[in-house]
C-alpha cells in the first residue's frame, strides 16, 4: 500500500484547459449513465476521476476519447471538438483502456509500431518514439518478445506505452494498475508522475484511493452519473469538515492530559481511548509541539505519537455512502 506522503498540491493554472467537458449526457435505453458532467483539466494537470463501479466513469472516458457519442454536451481537447467520426481531436488524446489493448501474438515493438503508424507518425519519428517509450516503461530489453510471454505488469506497462507514442496533450488512463504486482504498480505510478512533470495532462480513473492521493492534483467524485464533488484533496476534506486524528500514547494521567489538550488551539476534541489520548485537530502539524510540551508539564511520559490525515476514502464514503470498491 502506498502512503500519502507525496501528495501533490494544487497546480497553478497556466493557459487554456487541455480538456473541457460541458454538460455531458449519455443514456442507454431508459438509464442515464452520464448526467450533466462538466469538468476541465489544465495543462500538466493530473485529474483523478473516482467513483464506484457503474458510476459512469468508463462511459465518460469513452465520450472524451471519441469512442462514444454523447447525447448532449460537448468535449474539447486542446481546443478541438471531440467527435467519434472526426480525427483532429483524437490526435491530441492518448488512451490507455482498462482492458489490455495489445495484440498478444505481436512483440511489444510491433504493437507500438502498429499503433504509432495509426497515429500517423512517420517512420523515423516512430522508430525514435518507440525506443523512448520502451525506456519510459522499462521494457527496452524485452521489446522483441511477444506480449503473451510478458507478465501481467509488463503487459500493463506496454499498454500505457502504446498510449504515449504520439506524445498526446491528454493521456487518459482507465484503471491502469488493475491486477498489477506492487513493483510494476510502483513503476507505472512513477512513470505517470514523470509524464505529468513533462507537461502532459492526465485523466486518471482508479479504484485505489492512495493512487489518486499520490498522483492527482485534483479529484472529481462521480456517482450515478453525476459529478458530486471536485477539488484538491485538501479542499474536499475541508469542505466536509474532516479532521486530522492525533493519537498520543504514554504513561501517566492520560485523562488530565486529554482535559488540558482540549483547551489548546486547533484541537476540537480530546478523549482517552484504548490507553491513549485521541485528538481531533484541524492541523496536525501545528498541534504536535504544544501537545508534547503539555504532556511534559503534566508528567505524562509520551511513548509514541501517530498522526492520521483525513483521506479521500473518508470523503468518498461521506459523499456517496459507499466504499470506492463497491
Amino acid at each position: 500500500m502506498f502512503v500519502a506522503t507525496e501528495r501533490i498540491t494544487t497546480l497553478p493554472r497556466v493557459g487554456d484547459p487541455v480538456l473541457r467537458c460541458t454538460g455531458l449526457v449519455k443514456r442507454y435505453g431508459e438509464r442515464t449513465v452520464v448526467d450533466g458532467i462538466s469538468f476541465e483539466i489544465g495543462p500538466g494537470e493530473t485529474y483523478g476521476l473516482l467513483g464506484p463501479n457503474g458510476a459512469g466513469k468508463t462511459t465518460t472516458i469513452s465520450i472524451i476519447a471519441g469512442l462514444t457519442a454523447a447525447e448532449a454536451g460537448e468535449v474539447t481537447v486542446a481546443g478541438e471538438k471531440v467527435d467519434p467520426a472526426g480525427t483532429s481531436a483524437k490526435r491530441a488524446i492518448g488512451l490507455v483502456p482498462q482492458d489490455l489493448a495489445l495484440y498478444p501474438d505481436l512483440t511489444a515493438r510491433e504493437n507500438l509500431a502498429f499503433f504509432g503508424r495509426l497515429q500517423g507518425l512517420d517512420r523515423r519519428v516512430l522508430a525514435r518514439r518507440i525506443d523512448e517509450v520502451l525506456e519510459v516503461i522499462g521494457l527496452a530489453d524485452r521489446a522483441d518478445e511477444r506480449i503473451d510471454r510478458y507478465s501481467g505488469g509488463m503487459k500493463r506497462r506496454c499498454n500505457i506505452g502504446a498510449g504515449l507514442l504520439h506524445e498526446p496533450r491528454l493521456l487518459i488512463l482507465d484503471e491502469p494498475t488493475v491486477g498489477v504486482d506492487p513493483q510494476s504498480r510502483n513503476a507505472i505510478l512513477e512513470s505517470i508522475v514523470t509524464l505529468g512533470g513533462q507537461g502532459m495532462s492526465v485523466l486518471y480513473t482508479t479504484h485505489y484511493m492512495e493512487e489518486a492521493e499520490r498522483l492527482c492534483h485534483r479529484v472529481g467524485i462521480i456517482d450515478e452519473g453525476h459529478l458530486i464533488a471536485e477539488g484538491t484533496r485538501r479542499e474536499l476534506v475541508e469542505r466536509l469538515g474532516e479532521r486530522t486524528r492525533v493519537r498520543v500514547e504514554g504513561s501517566g494521567d492520560l485523562a488530565v492530559l486529554a482535559t488540558h489538550a482540549e483547551a489548546l488551539p486547533d484541537v476540537a476534541e480530546a478523549t482517552v481511548q484504548h490507553g491513549a489520548v485521541e485528538l481531533l485537530v484541524s492541523d496536525g502539524g501545528r498541534v504536535l509541539v504544544p501537545v508534547v510540551e503539555l504532556a511534559d508539564r503534566l508528567g505524562v511520559e509520551v511513548t509514541s505519537v501517530e498522526v492520521t490525515e483525513p483521506d479521500l476514502e473518508a470523503v468518498f464514503l461521506h459523499l456517496t455512502g459507499k466504499a470506492l470498491r463497491d
Partner: protein, 394 residues
C-alpha cells in the same frame, strides 16, 4: 493520414498476424490440397459408376442374334457399360430384383418378322426405378439399335423402289446385305474438349470451402478485436470508421486471393493439374474470393460475438458447399442439386472452372460469371459492412 493509408496499415497488420498464425496456411492451402488429393485418389481418376445391362433375345432370328451379339461384344473397355445375356424376360427381372443388373433390353418374339411390316415391334427396356441412370443408358442403347434397323429398312425400301428389283432371290440378297450392314453404336465417355482431372476439380472445390473459414476469420477479426480489446485503441486513433472497415476488407480479400492462387500454383506445378486458360481462371478466382469475402462479412454482420459468427459461418459454408456441388464430381449431381448448385456462387465458380478446365469455355465466356460473383460479393459485403459500422458506432 489518408483513409487509404490507414486501411492499408490495418490490412497489413491483419495479414501479418494471420500468416504468423500457421492455421491460415493449413486452412487456406494445405487442407484443400490434401483433401483434393484424397478425393482424387478415391476416384482414382476414373468414374466410380458402371452400368450393367441384361440382353434378352426372345426372337431368336438372325437379326436379333446380330443385335445381341453386337451388344455382348461390348462397347469398349474405356466405357463403364457392360451387357450380359439372359434367356428370358423373367430371369432378366430376377437379375433386376437382385440388383445384379440395372436395366434390361428385350428383343421381343416376332421382332425380326415385324420389321417388314408397317407396324414393327419395338425393343423393350426393363428398368429398376431406383437406378435411373442405368435405365437411361439402356434406353439410349435401344434407341441406337432401333435407329440402325430403321436405316437398314430404309436402304432396302429405297433399293427395291429405285432398282425395280422383282426377283425373289435378288430381294432376298438385298435384305440379307442390308441386315449385315453395321452402323456402329459408339458410346464414348468424353467431357467436352478434354480430360477431366479430379485434382483440378477438387482442389478449387475444397479451396472454396476452406475459403469460408480463412476469409471468415478475417471478416470476424472485427469481433475478435472487440473481444480482445484492441479495437478500442484502434478506434481511439485518428481514423475515420470507414478506414477501419476498409482495412479489414482489404485484408480479407488479399488473404482469400493468396489462398486460392497458392492452391492453383501448387496443384499445377506439383500435380500437373490444368485449370484451363489462366486469364479465365484468374477472373473466376477474383470473383469467387470477392463473393465469399462478401458473404462472410454479411454473416459476421449478423453475429454479435465471434463465436456466434464462427457457428454461422460453418452453417453457411457447408450448406453452400453441399448445394454448390463442392463434394461431388461434376455430372454426378442429382438433377435437384444440379439446379440448386446454380443458385450458389461457389456452384457458379465451380461450373466456370470445370468448363475452363475442359476447354468448353474461353476466358471471355467466364467473365460474366466472374462479374456476377463480384457483384454478389460487393452486395453482401456492403450490407455486412453497414451492419458492422452500425455496431461500431453503437
Amino acid at each position: 493520414m489518408s483513409s487509404l493509408r490507414a486501411a492499408l496499415i490495418i490490412a497489413g497488420n491483419d495479414l501479418r498476424r494471420r500468416f504468423r498464425d500457421r492455421s491460415v496456411v493449413i486452412q487456406g492451402v494445405i487442407a484443400p490440397i490434401a483433401l483434393a488429393v484424397l478425393i482424387g485418389l478415391a476416384f482414382g481418376g476414373e468414374p466410380a459408376f458402371e452400368a450393367r445391362i441384361a440382353v434378352v433375345d426372345l426372337d431368336r432370328s438372325p437379326v436379333s442374334e446380330a443385335i445381341t451379339r453386337d451388344l455382348l461384344d461390348g462397347v469398349g473397355d474405356e466405357v463403364p457399360i457392360s451387357f450380359v445375356s439372359e434367356p428370358d424376360a423373367a430371369s432378366a427381372r430376377d437379375r433386376l430384383d437382385d440388383e445384379r443388373v440395372g436395366a434390361a433390353i428385350v428383343v421381343p418374339s416376332g421382332f425380326s418378322a415385324s420389321l417388314g411390316s408397317d407396324r414393327p415391334l419395338g425393343l423393350e427396356v426393363l428398368v429398376d426405378p431406383s437406378r435411373t441412370i442405368d435405365g437411361d443408358i439402356a434406353g439410349a442403347v435401344a434407341a441406337g439399335v432401333a435407329a440402325r434397323l430403321d436405316a437398314g429398312r430404309l436402304a432396302v425400301a429405297t433399293t427395291l423402289e429405285t432398282a425395280a428389283v422383282t426377283a425373289p432371290d435378288q430381294i432376298d440378297r438385298i435384305v440379307r446385305d442390308a441386315a449385315a450392314v453395321t452402323i456402329p453404336v459408339e458410346v464414348r465417355e468424353e467431357p467436352p474438349g478434354g480430360e477431366w482431372s479430379p485434382i483440378a476439380y477438387f482442389a478449387p472445390s475444397m479451396a472454396m470451402l476452406f475459403l469460408f473459414f480463412t476469409v471468415g476469420a478475417g471478416a470476424r477479426s472485427l469481433l475478435t478485436e472487440r473481444r480482445e480489446g484492441t479495437l478500442t485503441r484502434v478506434r481511439a486513433s485518428p481514423l475515420r470508421p470507414g478506414a477501419i472497415l476498409a482495412g479489414k476488407a482489404i485484408g480479407v480479400v488479399v488473404l482469400g486471393m493468396v489462398s486460392l492462387l497458392t492452391v492453383w500454383a501448387v496443384t499445377t506445378v506439383v500435380f500437373g493439374a490444368n485449370w484451363g486458360d489462366p486469364s479465365g481462371v484468374l477472373a473466376v478466382i477474383v470473383g469467387v474470393v470477392l463473393a465469399i469475402a462478401g458473404i462472410s462479412t454479411f454473416v459476421t454482420g449478423l453475429a454479435t460475438t465471434d463465436a456466434q459468427a464462427d457457428a454461422l459461418t460453418s452453417v453457411v459454408a457447408f450448406t453452400l458447399a453441399l448445394l454448390g456441388g463442392n463434394f461431388i464430381s461434376p455430372g454426378a449431381l442429382p438433377d435437384l442439386l444440379a439446379t440448386a448448385s446454380l443458385a450458389t456462387p461457389n456452384g457458379w465458380a465451380l461450373r466456370a472452372l470445370t468448363d475452363l478446365e475442359a476447354g468448353a469455355a474461353s476466358a471471355a465466356e467466364v467473365v460474366p460469371v466472374a462479374v456476377g460473383l463480384a457483384v454478389v460479393g460487393l452486395l453482401t459485403g456492403g450490407v455486412g459492412m453497414v451492419s458492422s459500422a452500425r455496431r461500431l458506432a453503437a
